[in-house]
Homo-oligomer: 203 residues x 2
DNA sequence: GTCTATAGGCCGATAGAC
DNA sequence: GTCTATCGGCCTATAGAC
């Protein structure tokens, strides 16, 4: 959107990086693989991104911005708890998140960025829970909103992680349990809103 | 314990690998780093382990066996729910687990192994929850044991993960919430039993 | 079981022409 | 912005002597 030719290549590099991370993991990302996947010379990667760290950071910011936009749209929907739950249990988003968290474990510049994003996300989720509980006249003392947010999110992530591994022990029961209460609070689920426009990847 | 000289080197290699994985992540593990950390020649790593994959697998099995032994000991204690909760929230174990899960995401031989271990762990945890609930006369229909197991575990893992990143939004509230109910069921917490003998690393 | 030597490969990053 | 050429480094793994 800023500069035409330049940002086209830049976007192609980010797209290729994202794809490799999804398919083979962050450790498999290299400037040469990115280039061959995007039909470029590997040195172009170094021209557009001073270092691989800078590339990872730029990709995380792009992905995180998408996810946050998706969340704010869910918050504005008629059944925000259902919408947020569907996002949490949708496997495509957390997939890349896991790679970034693994990558960040030993890289401070990414750790700080992910931590800030996690806090922002948690606050938004908890605020929605609080609002919905208040509308239903449920006391936040017995079920603190941020606790419910973490319980929901933790279960969703664990199920996502284990599903990727290939096990499903207790998953169906847990999903049924949670969705039973979501149904009691917000009524039956409605289909997830379509992905916001202007996005390249359904992340 | 089997053969003296040989298994000593083997153990040293596994120890060094574990240390590097903890400190720098699985992607930083190489036969040369292992060797220099253990004071060996890098070719010895290839003698004792046909490939790096075989080494990772052997290390996972060693770590998993330790963790499962620790769990079975917790199950036999007087307050098993507290003991299992303390294991879940102890950051040192999950730390390595996260590395293995990230490593396994794109390696089938490890994925299957981790999936089997996860199922075994979940079944054990859920069985304990069921037993304790039955003793207290609580209906398993309203709170299915495997669901409680996943909610507890999911929250613990999310908190561990976010703590490693450096954020703590809602953590204290969630821990207080869960421990409040643990206290209602099993009474106040008792100190975690000491680590079982014969172990090299407090994992 | 442990050593030396080495094959063969992928990596990040830079210099300099166009 | 994109190209060619290239440096220096680390990697897995094997062959063969002891």
């Amino acid at each position: 959107m800023k500069e035409d030719r330049s940002s086209l290549t830049r976007t192609a590099i980010l797209d290729a990086t994202e794809q490799i991370m999804r398919e083979e993991g962050y450790a498999a990302v290299s400037s040469r693989k990115i280039a061959s996947s995007a039909g470029l010379k590997s040195q172009l990667v170094h021209y557009h991104f001073r270092s691989m760290d800078e590339l990872f950071l730029a990709l995380f910011q792009r992905v995180e911005e998408q996810q946050f936009r998706r969340m704010t749209q869910a918050v504005a929907s008629q059944k925000p708890l259902w919408a947020l739950w569907k996002i949490s249990t949708d496997a495509t988003g957390p997939w890349l998140n896991k790679e970034f968290i693994a990558l960040a474990t030993h890289r401070e510049y990414l750790r700080n960025e992910i931590a800030r994003a996690a806090e922002r996300t948690r606050q938004l989720h908890a605020a929605v829970v609080a609002r919905v509980l208040a509308q239903r006249g449920l006391a936040p003392q017995a079920w603190p909103p941020v606790v419910l947010s973490i319980l929901l999110d933790g279960a969703a992530r664990l199920i996502n992680s284990e599903t990727a591994l290939g096990t499903q022990e207790g998953h169906a029961e847990t999903i049924a349990f949670i969705e039973h209460y979501l149904g009691q609070i917000e009524g039956p689920a409605t289909p997830l809103a379509p992905y916001p426009p202007g996005e390249t990847t359904p992340d």
